[in-house]
Amino acid sequence: MRVLLVEDDPLLGDGVRAGLKLADYAVDWVRDGEAGRLALLAQAYDACVLDLGLPRRDGLSLLKDLRSRGNATPVLILTARDTSADKVSGLDAGADDYLVKPFDLAELQARLRALIRRASGTSTPTLSHAGVVLDPATKQVSLNGQTITLSAREFTLLHDLLSHKNRIRARSELEKSLYAWGEEVESNTVEVYIHHLRKKFGAEFIHTVRGLGYRVGETG
């Protein structure tokens, strides 16, 4: 899962990035509104954590711009203002959720999970297919009731595929989900982890769509 963090405060941005990394998100961190706008133009994110008070372009303006272009990326806003008027203006501008500073890291992680889950069209907290159940909150995966141990990368890849059930995921999309900017992408990583997952869940669990990518479930 790849998340864009737009935060101008160096300390808070560093903390949120580290906290989201702990939850196995690939995090891209930009420090002003304009850079955030460009990042969202250039790349599809599973979610965006957006501070409202930003230099160059404030958060609300960035959000309105994003929505006016029909981009539905789930956005969670961070705000120092806690009056309902501030919350309302944020939600009206197209935010999906908000957190008032200072906030709890666990709450930020949970809200992001819920946003991503809702965006993928499911309302249950767990993702499942063909006897495989993935719980994003506990990071537990089971096959027919039996707990399966996965590495962080394997989990992220499975999470991505299950979140886009019945849809084809290109290799490049899966790579972006695994790596943030600046992280070195090893070649064949996706193939290696797909291979691991097939060993654990059966070869039929992940379909290879030639020339396009991979898919869990039937053609949409």
């Binding site: 300390l11 808070l12 702990l22 200072p102 906030f103 890291l105």
Partner: protein, 464 residues
């Protein structure tokens, strides 16, 4: 002297005293006039009586001459003339009649000794005399042939009684009207002051939350300048309160960000298993605490500086020495960031009046800003100088300068320039320049910020 602070009491007293004075003056004037008129009237009466007596004397000349001259004694009228039916204004009269030789022909029983008029005096001569310890008025009347002299007198206290009576008649109505007048003044003043009382109630209803303008009292024009002044005060007060509230709210929000950072970093530290990440997060917690502390310090500093109209105490000090010591203190900080911090001392000391601690705070803020926004390897120059006899303190850096469109907002509290977002590491409070400006103001200096032609920023404190 007793000061009367009540308008009502003052008006009542003034009107009463004025009325009493008018009454007294009218009384005195009437008394005077009445006395004069009574004088005239009674002189007239004396003349009348004297002429009557003279007529009688001339008519009975022979008998008088015979009796008076033969007896060599004047005829004395001894009958009691004090009837019960006497009129209050009837005059008590005494008289004497003499012939040319000064021989007394006729006299009343208690006729006073009356000095004869000098021979060459006029026919009728009035004179004030004393008789039995009382003031009397006397008229000497000569017959036209000069043969007889009639002298007639009456006491004058009667005339004073008349004067008093007239004066009282004139002044009494005024005296009677006084209580009515006082009552009228009382009610009129009370009525006129009613809008003022309503205004007082209106003002009393105002609070910091309700500083609406007062409606102008239509009935009391004199109160309108007061209302206008109050309304101006209210609007200034509302603006000040608004600023304070906004500043407090902004300050609270500003504190939330470092607190959020501290909390998130602490949670990251608790959750990370990687020792490097763990250490990093803990150091960030400390950095966050430091930043919150610095923000609180700056807020407190500004809160203490804001209400000052002028410096509580100033000392004579040398601007050059103060600047040199601040620059020396900050060398270590500059070295950590691999920056060069230079100070150019002036040729002569720069004597100023001021607060050394505050000046050091201002200069430290300026140098900190320069260190923060100038990339490693940069040069920061501090210069103290006298330019046309006016002290000048300059801090220039080799950083990126400021965006021209940002320049007007730099002094805004909590505003951080674009450079602040790009600066690595420490994050300013957004109050530094506001504090410098305030300190400059208190020292009678002006804060000037300008991009340098060859790059970098130049900040000047120019004494006026």
């Amino acid at each position: 002297m007793i000061r009367l602070h009540s308008l009502r009491a003052r008006l009542l007293l003034t009107v009463s005293i004025a009325t009493l004075l008018a009454w007294g003056a009218a009384g005195v004037a009437s008394y005077d006039k009445a006395l004069h008129e009574a004088d005239e009237l009674m002189d007239g009466q004396l003349a009348q009586s004297a002429k009557l007596l003279m007529a009688q004397v001339l008519h009975e000349t022979n008998e008088l001459e015979a009796k008076g001259l033969s007896a060599a004694h004047p005829i004395e009228i001894t009958e009691n003339l004090d009837y019960d039916a006497s009129h209050p204004y009837e005059q008590h009269l005494e008289f004497r009649v003499m012939n040319r030789n000064g021989l007394l022909l006729l006299r009343s029983a208690q006729a006073p000794e009356m000095a004869p008029p000098t021979p060459d005096s006029e026919i009728a001569t009035y004179r004030d005399i004393k008789h039995a310890g009382q003031p009397w008025r006397q008229l000497s009347l000569r017959s036209s042939d000069g043969h007889y002299l009639v002298q007639i007198a009456h006491p004058t206290q009667e005339r004073e009684r008349v004067g008093m009576e007239v004066a009282t008649q004139v002044a009494l109505p005024i005296l009677l009207a006084l209580p009515i007048l006082v009552l009228l003044v009382y009610f009129s003043v009370r009525g006129s002051l009613k809008p003022l009382e309503e205004l007082a109630a209106d003002v009393a209803a105002r609070s910091p939350d309700n500083l609406e303008v007062l409606s102008e009292p239509q009935t009391l024009r004199e109160a309108q300048p007061l209302v206008a002044a109050l309304n101006r005060l209210f609007s200034r007060l509302a603006a000040t309160l608004d600023n304070e509230r906004r500043f407090t709210a902004d300050a609270a929000h500003e504190l939330r960000t470092p607190l959020a950072a501290v909390k998130v970093q602490a949670q990251v530290a608790l959750a990370s298993t990687d020792p490097t990440d763990h250490q990093h997060a803990l150091r960030q917690v400390l950095a966050g605490a430091d930043r919150a502390t610095r923000l609180v310090e700056q807020l407190l500093r500004l809160a203490r500086l804001d209400p000052l109209a002028r410096l509580p105490q100033t000392h004579s000090l040398d601007l050059a020495t103060s600047a040199a010591s601040v620059v020396a203190d900050m060398q270590a900080q500059a070295a950590t960031k691999q920056q060069q911090l230079n100070f150019t001392p002036p040729a002569t000391p720069i004597p100023i009046q001021g607060d050394a601690d505050l000046l050091a705070v201002a200069l430290r803020n300026l140098i900190e800003n320069a260190l923060r926004y100038t990339p490693a390897g940069g040069v920061i120059e501090v210069r103290a100088d006298l330019v046309s006899q006016r002290p000048l303190l300059v801090v220039r850096d080799s950083g990126p300068g400021v965006n021209p469109e940002e320049a007007p907002r730099l002094l805004e509290r909590f505003y951080r320039g674009q450079a602040a977002a790009n600066a690595e590491g420490s994050h300013g409070s957004g109050l530094g320049l506001a504090i410098v400006e305030r300190i400059a103001e208190l020292h009678g200096a002006q804060l000037e910020i300008e991009n340098r032609a060859r790059g970098g920023l130049e900040v000047r404190l120019r004494w006026r």
